[in-house]
């Protein structure tokens, strides 16, 4: 009987946490998906790189750049958090020749947690 009561109390505690916690904070910003997709090969040079995150970001502390295979920066230098959608980080690209390109991002979520990452895409 005691064990049944303990299990019930524990389950109620967890359910309460599941309902309460998501409204308290926004947590780290992790990438949800991107265009071009991580590790993908595309046939046409994209005009922008876009990464959608699962949290809103602080525009002043969030950056995105694109480098070619030699480590030379190739984006237009206008990396930004979208003004209408604070979960979207994007940067414009010029017309790029075939090759591998690395997207490098570094973001700060609105609760001040920092995350970073990079990924490759290829233009054939």
């Amino acid at each position: 009987m005691r064990r049944v009561k303990l299990g019930t109390a524990f389950a109620l505690f967890l359910v309460a946490c599941l309902f309460v916690l998501p409204g308290v904070s926004l947590g780290h910003a992790f990438p949800d998906h991107s265009d071009p997709r991580v590790g993908s090969t595309v046939s046409v040079s994209p005009t922008t790189v876009r990464i959608w995150f699962d949290s809103e970001m602080e525009p002043a502390f969030s950056t995105i750049t694109v480098q070619d295979a030699n480590g030379r920066r190739v984006d237009k230098g206008d990396g930004r958090v979208d003004s209408a959608d604070a979960t979207l980080l994007e940067v414009s690209l010029p017309l790029l020749p075939p090759g591998s390109y690395r997207v490098i991002w570094n973001v700060v979520a609105v609760d001040t947690h920092r995350t970073m990452g990079d990924f490759l895409f290829t233009i054939k």
Binding site: R2, R3, L6, F10, L14, C17, L21, P22, V24, S25, L26, G27, H28, F30, P31, H33, S34, R37, V38, G39, S40, D54, S55, D111, T112, H113, R114, T115, M116, G117, D118, F119, L120
Partner: protein, 316 residues
Amino acid sequence: MSINTEFRAKLFLYFAVVITAIVAIPALSLAHGFAGKRFFPTTFAVDDPFISDEFSVLINRIKQPGDEPNRATEINIDWSKRIIPDFGLEFHEAYLHLGSNGDGSANGWENLGVGAKWHFLTNEEHELIMSIGTDIDVGGTGAHQLSGSFSHITPGLFFGKGLGDLSDSVNFIRPFAITGVVGTSFPTRSKNVILNTDGSTDTERNPTTFNWGFTVQYSLIYLQSFVKDIGLGAPFNRMIMVTEFPMQTNLSRDGKGLTTGTVNPGVVWAGKFMEFGIAAQIPINSQSGKSVGVLGLIHFFVDDIFPKGIGGPIFH
């Protein structure tokens, strides 16, 4: 005080301390378990290679070794609190239920564990983190029929290393990571003298043990975000496959060299505020257990839940 009353009192006290701290301590919050791109999750039986503000409940059920093995169900509660950004305190308590094949059973709290950990190295480029710490299992604080009256002191070195710094030519290896711990557990009393009913005495030695363990992890989060988007949807895109190897080797004269431990293959799901995990617990020999057990983990990222309250270090 009966065991049941004592259990309720301790449970109430534990949650009262947590809630009071949540309300009373203001602080700013920093990250937990990260080295560059790498997120190291909290695992089951091998301690984290970092210090953070976190709260865990781990439930463990396994048949213990012996000729008449007990079925052991253990509820472990862990709370870590940073004092400064890279140094903090850890508290551990566990409630144990032992059920035998006969009529008897026993319930009670085990000894209170108190520890301190210093996270002294983070290398973002090589996804490397290292910490040192000491745990003290405080003797005499648990139920006397289940816990020792003497303490254990266990200094240890903790490490975590991701393989994300490997070249792009071995892309699908890069989501792998390992974590581990090495340490020695010293009892504060070398032996117990047991007085028999006929007046004779028996001596029971308390061994010094080398505690070592490691985990091998494959992060689907890392794969999906940094290597190749293979189209994983929820909940698989937040999963980390984990296999643990927690081990203990006897260093004392009696039974010297005997290693006990388990292999724990499982999976962890890491969300924004909490982590869930489940693993099997396979004994490596008959001295480690009599059957396959199970581990269940629920873990809260207190620093994400309360980034401007208890989630940060007390002093910056």
